[in-house]
């Protein structure tokens, strides 16, 4: 074994949260490195389209933003964390602008803001419909400028946790297939989402919940995993995202009768109600026979060519390429699709997890600012605010601590596990078949609407798949970019998460935010105003519950 690579802070994942964390840690003067299974610009943050929220407007305020977020969360979000995020949002946006982000502008030259779902003000700053890409590239530029060392195309196989403290990771250099340990005084997990647990999903092929699963297996609790966001406007076959900005700019949702059906579900907010509500409305229209071939229509024609070409050029191109539809002349068939994980690794407002030395930020973390339903434009904000905070906290944690000693045992264990994978008999079932079974089962059983029977069937399926996974072969024995091997490992991660999601959903006998039980249609604050916590054990997840932090707002009936 070569000499172990050692850093003060190691950030796993180079999307917005990871790069923001690395940047902040570097500013603190510690030795920081980034590790990512893709090149940073390929991270899923790049696919965010619509924008990032901050109360910049004269009539707007962080308090209003916080209230909208608390209400959007169906009162499950921790209000101290939400207040922190909304209070720090304006200065973080200004900083992103000063770093070089080309935000779309108002006529007076200030940052433009568009209306988004569930928000009382036009509060979403944007770069046309490529906000995530624009921000990701700007943060990457800063990472280059500060010379942050980046391990591109390295895949983490496990976290090293000894004596209750995280001491680094074991990872495979994908270019060679070699497995090594990377030691660190503090690790920031910023592994992104787990969209690929579902089929279809708006998420990238790389969004396999690695960060969630690695932390879970290492002993960190996953919180509120049953809350899975279905975005109201995704393409039918592929699940590819069509931004909420399309409705923010004035787009209509129409059923087969050409009716703006949101009038019956959210008369005051219409198409700009919170996402869980719009997705349920669409699914109801489809289920009750007012859909169009399993979809409803997104109609932008009345916006006119100039507005579409200036503010939504990328989705127009996507619709042309992937759905053969020109938004200038035709309505686009869309439907609710898995989009975002509200749940994740439990952290405090500084990104600290219950494991000493392990921090988490971004979609893989649960602070919790989204509760049972995230508002559009708040995920990018979360990555920036809590990426920054966790980078700072990790650097402070690492500062002055002795370097961890090398862990031969962890490398040996993972090397053996991979040898076992590579030596499996070749007659097992295909990874792709199992993954498809999982995705379909989760989508139908733990989807927009849920019932006890449906969830239980999905859970049974997932447990069956976990057994069958143990015999999935890896035909490719090579070391260089063995993507077949990695996809089998990723499927193992996802099956762990699917089990946690389904079990949490089965136990939670109420409807709150994105968790909508047909058999328990009401929110039940008496019993269920609490966070779900899932702990990894040899016999599967063990569930526990924890309190929700409330500062200023008591639960109210949630209407839009």
């Amino acid at each position: 074994m070569s000499e172990a690579l050692t850093h003060d802070v190691l950030v796993v994942g180079a999307g917005l949260a990871g790069m923001r964390a690395a940047l902040e840690a570097a500013r603190q003067g510690v030795d920081v490195a980034l590790l990512t299974k893709v090149y940073p610009l390929r991270s899923h943050s790049v696919a965010a389209q619509g924008g990032i929220n901050a109360a910049l407007g004269e009539d707007d305020s962080p308090e209003t933003h916080a209230y909208d977020t608390v209400k959007g969360s169906d009162y499950l979000g921790d209000q101290d964390a939400i207040e922190t995020m909304c209070r720090e949002a304006p200065s973080d946006i200004i900083e992103l602008e000063r770093m070089g982000t080309v935000f779309s502008r108002r006529q007076d030259g200030r940052i433009a803001q568009r209306p988004f779902g569930g928000a009382g003000f036009p509060r979403t700053c944007y770069v046309a419909d490529i906000t995530g890409q624009a921000l990701l590239h700007v943060l990457h530029e800063q990472v280059l400028k500060l010379n942050v060392l980046t391990y591109d195309e390295w895949f983490v196989t496990s976290l090293i946790v000894e004596d209750g403290r995280c001491r680094g990771v074991v990872a495979m250099n994908m270019r060679t297939g070699h497995i090594e340990s990377l030691l660190a005084k503090a690790v920031v997990m910023a592994g992104g989402g787990f969209g690929r647990v579902y089929t279809p999903t708006s998420n990238s092929l790389i969004s396999t919940g690695d960060g969630h699963a690695l932390a879970y297996r290492a002993g960190a609790p996953l919180m509120d995993m049953e809350f899975v966001q279905f975005h109201p406007t995704t393409l039918k076959e592929s699940g590819v995202l069509i931004t909420e900005g399309a409705r923010g700019e004035g787009g209509y949702l129409l059923n087969s009768q050409g009716e703006r059906f949101m009038a019956r579900y959210a008369p005051s907010k219409m198409e700009l109600a919170a996402r869980d509500i719009v997705s349920r409305a669409e699914q109801t229209e489809i289920n009750e026979g007012r859909g169009v071939d399993g979809c409803v229509h997104l109609d932008l024609r009345h916006l006119g060519k100039q507005k579409i070409m200036e503010r939504l050029p990328q989705i127009r191109e996507l619709a042309l390429d992937l759905a053969n539809t020109d938004l200038l002349t035709d309505p686009l068939p869309i439907r609710p699709g898995m989009h975002y994980a509200m749940g994740g690794i439990k952290t405090d407002v500084n990104g600290a997890t219950p494991i000493s030395g392990l921090f988490a930020a971004g979609e893989c973390a649960c602070v919790s600012v989204h509760g049972a339903n995230r508002l559009g434009g708040n995920s990018l904000l979360e990555t920036i605010v809590f990426g920054r905070r966790s980078g700072k906290a990790a650097a402070e944690y690492a500062d002055g601590r002795p370097a961890p000693s090398p862990s031969e045992a962890a490398v040996k264990r993972d090397t053996q596990a991979i040898e076992e994978l590579l030596s499996r008999p070749s007659d097992g079932e295909r990874m792709a078949d199992l993954r498809a079974e999982m995705g379909v089962a989760m989508n139908s059983g733990v989807g927009v609407f849920r019932t006890k029977e449906g969830i239980a069937a999905a859970l049974d399926k997932v447990r069956d798949l976990k057994e069958r996974w143990k015999r999935v072969p890896v035909g490719n024995k090579g070391g260089v970019f063995n993507m077949e091997l990695l996809s089998v490992i990723e499927l193992g991660f996802m099956l762990d998460l699917a089990e946690v999601i389904a079990l949490g959903a089965l136990q939670r006998e109420e409807s709150r935010g994105a968790h909508s039980r047909r058999d328990f249609p009401e929110r039940d604050d008496q019993t269920w105003l609490k966070h779900t916590l899932a702990y990894h054990t040899a016999d599967g997840p063990k569930l526990d519950y924890g309190p929700v932090t409330m500062t200023r707002w008591q639960p109210e009936r949630r209407v839009y």
């Binding site: 991270s43 007076d108 490529i130 996507l318 070391g479 260089v480």
Partner: protein
Amino acid sequence: MEVRLRVRRYDSTADGEPSYQQYAIDAPESVTILDSLLIIRERVDGSLAFRSSCRSAICGSCAMRINGASRLACKTKVVDMASRGREITVEPLANLPVIKDLIADMTPFYEKMRAVSPWLMIDEAKPLPDREYLMDAARSLRLSQFVACIQCAACYSACPIVALDDQYLGPAALAKAFRYCHDPRDDGKAQRLAGIAQEQGLWRCHTVFSCAEQCPKGVNPTEAIQQLKKMVMLMRLGLSR
């Protein structure tokens, strides 16, 4: 629908020359080249190496040559490349070393991006504005045409000058330089221009427009390079700061 691909195979760590392997799969009419490659890797040949991530033409992972032109595999429909059943040739990006199969070593490309100091340079002596810098809405729209670059390197692969001179900065890096030189907030124009107004920088471009033609995002690096040349001339004539 039958999809027939002829894919260039190569492993830089093994002995042997590059070769072409033929695959035939059954797939729906709507499939892209990326969909087809995924079907092959997951159902036919797990050793086939390529990069992919967003499958919606924004992450820049899956640029490769398809029937000779540099394209994003996720944005390219099989039916647009070949009439029914006709074979489609898929190769890694040109002008870069190959690691395995369709995976190019992007290091030279990324190093050239970095060489143009691709970040906002602010004169620290100047006072910061109270809030954001103000920017004309039209300028923001203009810049966003270049912000749209996803660094997929399709232009770099398409550029005939890079093919002749591997020290040439190439279209993407120069377009990035223009994006910042044209940014009203930036104070690094003179420094950046000095770095790129070199034989193997700006002046190497022959205005062939291959980069603009093959860019999957509608960015026009050739135009950016022409604008940069103009900036350099104005600066040398003392007509710009």
